[in-house]
């Protein structure tokens, strides 16, 4: 479980790094899109599958904690700009300061969430191991 949270975390880290590079001029928006878009959907799917697992395991509290993020992911993907392939980012608007700042903030918030979730799960695992 912790491993997969790691994977999500990595996707988010990638997003943070990529946006930072974009901001500091190391990258152009098209490369950026090409780096990030392929990992967006996997990240969302992994998170969704976790939610399903929580559901199956009747982990209501954990599920409840994850539901807001799941809902956010669904909303985010539904409201993505018109595009033919999978992905989220539009290279023509990403340089817009508002959008760039939003994406960066989103990255940091999600990273924080995944980290906390990781520790929560570790705690849960150890607790179960110890108590059994």
């Amino acid at each position: 479980m912790s491993r997969t949270f790691g994977a999500e975390g990595r996707a988010t880290c990638l997003a943070i790094i990529a946006f930072d590079e974009l901001k500091t001029d190391y990258k152009n928006p098209i490369d950026q899109r090409n780096t990030l878009d392929p990992v967006v959907l996997p990240e969302y799917l992994i998170h969704a599958s976790f939610c399903v697992m929580f559901l199956c395991a009747a982990e209501w509290l954990t599920l409840g904690l994850n539901m807001p993020l799941l809902a956010y992911h669904i909303w985010r993907y539904m409201s993505r700009p018109v595009m033919s392939g999978p992905g989220l980012y539009d290279p023509t608007t990403i340089m817009n300061a508002d959008i760039l700042a939003y994406c960066q903030k989103e990255g940091w918030c999600k990273l924080a969430f995944y980290l906390l979730a990781l520790f929560y799960c570790l705690y849960g695992m150890i607790y179960v191991l110890v108590s059994s």
């Binding site: 974009l22 901001k23 001029d25 990258k27 152009n28 928006p29 098209i30 700009p81 018109v82 595009m83 033919s84 290279p91 023509t92 340089m95 817009n96 300061a97 508002d98």
Partner: protein
């Protein structure tokens, strides 16, 4: 290297292309300009300088900007410093009393020394043709103690004025070539053009001479009196001084002025009065200046000896009110001062309704020292919404005004210095180009004005080719011109400069043939084939498409063009790699052959499908090795292959602001445009469609590839002759205008400011870099800025745009514009410096974005809120005592009107039956037009033309051009017995009232009576009557001011165009929109909440 390079220029020496097309005065402003000898620095004479481009309409710009420093306030050396200190400290008072009282004799002063004569050389070195003469010890030798190298420019800031043969080969330092022009012509020309600003020379030198009494010592020669010849004065020529006497100089100027003072002699004219009467002198010494121009002490309005009306005198200190009534000539002359008390007025819009000036609105002049200001960039090229930059983001947020820049970087300029130098001096850390606003710490070091890094002055830069003097880096043209062009060396190229490549893609489906557009387009192309900007390397190609794609082989040696048809539109390929794009010179006959036969080739076609997407892909493949310009003509919704679209418009929902499709339905065109952008291909779209064609999706192809969109609704060669004419005229301009290939534009700004968002047609490649596969002189850009770090430790900020492009002659060039603005710390100053036109323009751009991302009604609300927020901010913070009514600062007096006009503009209007494509086209125009045209489209100028007289007329090149006053856009201004001309930028509409005087009908329109005016009349007959001559002179003068050709429609009561005419009456009420007065009431209600 911060300029992402792109290919670049090889044979630089083939001859400079004269910078701007608009070169010849006589002439075709559209051409690409004469070819100049590279060695000689010939330049189009200044005479046709900025003002010949817009003759007379922005006369004051000249002075305010580069050419002429002194416009309004001619510095008169003669009038000795009069009570220097006392006057100055009262900003409010200064303009009134002293001048008149203390200088009863001023008129004589003016008339004495001939106004336009350069004063003694020491004062106006620039005026003397001989370079050597230009440096008198007094003026030019910097005295270390008093004079720092920065802000040097006292004498020569107008370098092009001194005609200087460029020397080449003298020494190795000589490489810089500098284009200059004879100054005598410059002077003459000013006069001729009626600009009333005969001040060709920077008069100020004296002020800066080291050593104390700068006040022009009598011995120093006749004072540079810049008097305006009275007869030249016209309402439009009120000089706008570039400097306000109450400026906040201490910070950066005082060290130069210690103990010194100088006298300003102000001679301005007022619009209504032909005699320039007001003149005054203000002596002052800098060190004791009050900071800023806000009146910290209650201004004294007494002592003027002039009746002031008593309307609205707020007792608060800042609220300095003076109404123009009764003091007409005084205020008019005051308006010549940039710091005129007029600017400090607080206006109650509910009481003073007629705020629209009768002459074109001039941009405000930044509150900078005149020496900086006179070097500043022309506001037509580079303009900021706030001419006083707020110190912190908090202050900016408080003001609720948008901060941003509006650029027209590639505008056709008649006069532009071009520098050829092996090293281009730039800041080592931020790569800023050296510009007039850097400071020289000593002779060998300069400090960047953007990042404050201290850089070395390269050896080569020490030599000034203009004066042939060594050791004067501060006199180099780079440091004397805010707008300059460099010939880029090979470091600025990633590949050899591309040849000009033009590819035309024609829709030849049944629908297209029906409209008959091919005839017009092919004919225009045939006519302009030799005028296409280019050189011997120019390449041209043609593709036509319906449900298949047709290529044309134009190989040299073929007896006639060969058509190759590719019917596989799923996987498009190029049938033969060569010979589809051919050298225009070598295959000219084949090309002409093709253009002649093309219109007939498809007359029998029954194919109704249109495979635009595959055709674009094919064209892209064809062009990607070189880059270039692709012109696509499309007449219907694409229906086949990739990029096929579906009709989305629902006619019965047109009027509602909800649920309209402003966003593209597919990203095919956007992705293709990005690919094009990567390969330096720009796509220009000509849409000639009767039905809905989903411009929202199609337009992306141009938008992200830096192309432009042209739209001709319901084009038909027989049924719609007006559109035919429009297409012809616009094509003429399109084909012959200057073009820059493989361009990038970078915008830099002083540390602390950052770029927030760009608006326009391009692809943003990084935070400050725009990728522009093509750049054309009719494209404008807007940039939103934000203040990231506090600017407390700086007094000036600068913005620099650098456009690197390949000219059609294959040279790599960099055009640099630099704008310098003061930083202020109080809200009142921010409001005082607001540029209402620029603000409205930027808001329009932001509103377009908002309509696309949110909804149209959101965007409309945002526009209204922008007015309400900023006015309430003003009310709560800047006005000390609360008054009823709608109080606005003078600078924003037209803000509500312009926003109302925007709400009624085609892009944002509701309640009318605007077709979706037309609305989207209007939005494209908002984004892509330069500010001047955007404002004209939004708020057209209305003139009454049936009673034109020569009173107040200006004369340009021996032509007398009447100057009727601009009227408010309200039906109450119309009358049935008159004729009114509305100038809406791209169209001119002449509305003839039913009872219009017989005189006008017969003498101007050439018809017997009203009923005989033709239904569609787009030309005025040239009759041999003075009335006709005046009207035609006026109309052609309006046309000459813009690069395209606005068509004139004569409208009578029953004409279908009448609705368009009346729609522009923005002050009136319509079914769904408020009248101006109602709008004001609405705002007042919100503001006073």
């Amino acid at each position: 290297m911060s300029q992402p390079g792109i290919p670049a220029s090889g044979g630089a020496s083939t001859g400079l292309q004269a910078q701007n097309g608009a070169a010849s005065a006589s002439g075709s402003p559209y051409t690409n300009g004469p070819v100049q000898n590279a060695l000689m620095s010939s330049q189009v004479s200044v005479s046709q300088g900025y003002n010949s481009q817009l003759p007379g309409s922005y006369p004051h710009l000249i002075p305010a900007k580069t050419l002429n420093p002194v416009s309004g306030q001619s510095n008169s050396g003669g009038s000795q410093t009069v009570s220097p200190l006392s006057n100055y400290q009262r900003p409010g008072q200064a303009p009134y009393g002293p001048p008149v009282a203390s200088h009863p004799g001023t008129p004589s002063l003016r008339s004495g020394p001939s106004p336009q004569m350069p004063l003694p050389t020491s004062q106006n070195p620039a005026a003397t043709p001989m370079p050597s003469g230009s440096f008198l010890p007094g003026a030019s030798v910097p005295s270390p103690s008093n004079w720092q190298y920065n802000y040097l420019s006292q004498t020569n800031h107008c370098p092009r004025a001194s005609s200087q043969p460029t020397m080449t080969g003298n020494t190795n330092l000589m490489s810089p070539q500098y284009v200059s022009s004879g100054d005598s012509s410059l002077q003459n020309n000013f006069i001729k053009s009626g600009s009333a600003l005969p001040l060709a020379n920077p008069p100020l030198p004296t002020t800066f001479q080291p050593g104390a009494p700068l006040g022009p010592p009598p011995t120093g020669g006749p004072p540079p009196v810049r008097a305006l010849a009275p007869q030249k004065l016209t309402p439009r020529t009120v000089p706008q001084p570039s400097f306000n006497s109450t400026s906040n100089q201490e910070g950066f100027w005082s060290y130069k002025f210690n103990g010194s003072m100088f006298t300003l002699f102000l001679a301005t004219s007022q619009p209504t009065n032909k005699n320039p009467t007001m003149s005054r002198s203000v002596g002052y010494s800098y060190p004791s200046l009050p900071p800023g121009y806000q009146n910290t002490t209650p201004p004294s309005t007494t002592g003027t000896g002039i009746p002031l009306s008593s309307l609205n005198y707020p007792s608060g200190p800042q609220a300095f009110t003076q109404t123009p009534l009764g003091a007409n000539h005084l205020t008019a002359s005051m308006s010549g001062l940039s710091l005129h008390p007029e600017g400090l007025r607080v206006i109650n819009l509910l009481q003073e309704r007629n705020m629209l000036p009768s002459t074109p609105l001039q941009p405000p002049v930044p509150n900078l020292h005149e020496d900086i200001q006179k070097l500043n960039c022309n506001p037509e090229l580079f303009r900021c919404t706030l001419t006083s930059i707020p110190q912190t983001q908090a202050l900016l947020n408080k003001a609720k005004l948008p901060l941003g820049l509006l650029l027209h970087p590639f505008k056709d300029l008649v006069q532009l210095p071009v520098v050829t130098s092996s090293t281009i001096v730039r800041c080592r850390s931020c790569r800023t180009y050296i510009n007039p606003f850097v400071s020289f710490l000593d002779q060998r070091r300069w400090k960047c004005n953007l990042c404050y890094r201290v850089n070395d002055v390269p050896e080569e830069f020490m030599y000034n080719p203009l004066t042939r003097v060594y050791g004067e880096p501060h006199r180099r043209p780079e440091v004397q011109n805010a707008t300059i062009e460099f010939m880029a060396p090979s470091e600025y190229m990633l590949r050899p400069p591309q040849p000009p490549v033009y590819l035309f893609v024609f829709d030849v489906s049944h629908n297209a043939i029906e409209t008959g557009y091919l005839n017009s387009v092919c004919q225009s192309l045939l006519d302009n084939l030799d005028l296409l900007p280019g050189n011997t390397r120019t390449k041209i190609g043609f593709i036509t498409f319906d449900s298949t794609i047709h290529f044309y082989s134009l190989q040299e040696g073929l007896s006639q063009p060969q058509m190759l048809i590719v019917s596989d539109i799923e996987d498009v390929f190029i049938p033969m790699p060569e010979n589809l794009l051919v050298n225009l010179n070598e295959s000219k006959e084949l090309v002409q052959d093709l253009l002649k036969t093309l219109p007939q080739m498809f007359t029998k076609t029954l194919e109704t499908q249109s495979a635009l997407g595959p055709a674009l892909q094919a064209a892209f493949k064809l062009m990607s090795p070189t880059g270039g310009r692709m012109s696509v003509f499309q007449t219907q919704l694409p229906t086949l292959g990739v990029g096929a679209l579906k009709p989305r418009e629902e006619p019965n929902q047109r009027s509602s602001a909800k649920e309209i499709h402003l966003t593209p339905s597919t990203d095919f065109y956007k992705k293709l445009a990005l690919d094009c952008s990567g390969q330096q291909v720009a796509v220009d779209l000509f849409l000639l469609s009767g039905q809905y064609s989903d411009l929202a999706s199609l337009g992306c192809i141009s938008r992200y590839s830096a192309g432009s969109v042209y739209y001709y609704p319901s084009y038909h060669h027989q049924h719609n002759p007006v559109q035919v004419q429009k297409l012809q005229k616009e094509l003429q301009r399109y084909l012959t205008r200057k073009i820059g290939f493989e361009a990038v534009m970078r915008i830099r700004c002083t540390k602390g400011l950052s770029i927030h968002t760009f608006h326009g047609n391009f692809f943003v490649r990084s935070t400050d870099l725009l990728s522009l596969p093509n750049v054309n002189p009719d494209a404008g850009y807007a940039v939103q800025m934000s203040v990231e770090e506090s600017l407390t430790d700086t007094q000036l900020v600068s913005f620099q745009s650098a456009l690197l492009y390949t000219s059609s002659k294959g040279e790599r060039r960099i055009r640099v514009h630099t704008l310098c603005l003061p930083v202020v710390s109080t809200l009142n100053e921010v409001f005082l410096g607001a540029d209402v036109q620029a603000i409205s323009g930027l808001l329009a751009n932001m509103a377009v974005d908002r309509s696309v991302t949110a909804s149209l009604s959101d965007a409309r609300d945002a526009l209204v809120n922008a007015v309400i927020d900023s006015l309430s901010a003003y009310r709560s913070s800047a006005l000390s005592n609360q008054q009823s009514g709608l109080m606005v600062p003078f600078s924003l007096r037209l803000f509500p009107l312009f926003v109302l006009a925007l709400l009624k503009q085609k892009s944002f209007q509701t309640g009318t039956n605007a077709r979706l494509d037309e609305r989207i086209f209007a939005m494209c125009q908002v984004k892509n037009q330069p500010l001047v045209y955007l404002m004209l489209t939004t708020h057209p100028s209305l003139y009454r033309v049936d009673n034109l007289s020569d009173e107040g007329a200006i004369s340009i090149n021996d032509r007398t051009i009447p100057q009727p006053p601009i009227l408010q856009l309200s039906v109450e201004k119309l009358s049935r017995d008159g004729a009114f001309l509305m100038d809406a930028g791209s169209v001119l509409m002449l509305w003839v009232g039913r009872n219009c005087g017989q005189n006008f009908l017969s003498q101007v329109l050439g018809v017997e009576n009203y009923a005989l005016i033709p239904q569609t009349m787009t030309d005025l007959p040239e009759l041999d009557t003075p009335e006709s001559a005046r009207t035609i002179a006026f109309i052609s003068w309006l046309r000459e001011q813009r690069p395209f050709y606005p068509i004139l429609y004569v409208i009578r009561d029953e004409s279908p165009m009448k609705a368009n005419f009346l729609q522009n009456m923005v002050e009136d009420r319509t079914e769904s929109a408020l009248s101006y007065y109602e709008f004001l009431l609405h705002i007042q209600q919100q503001v006073n909440k």
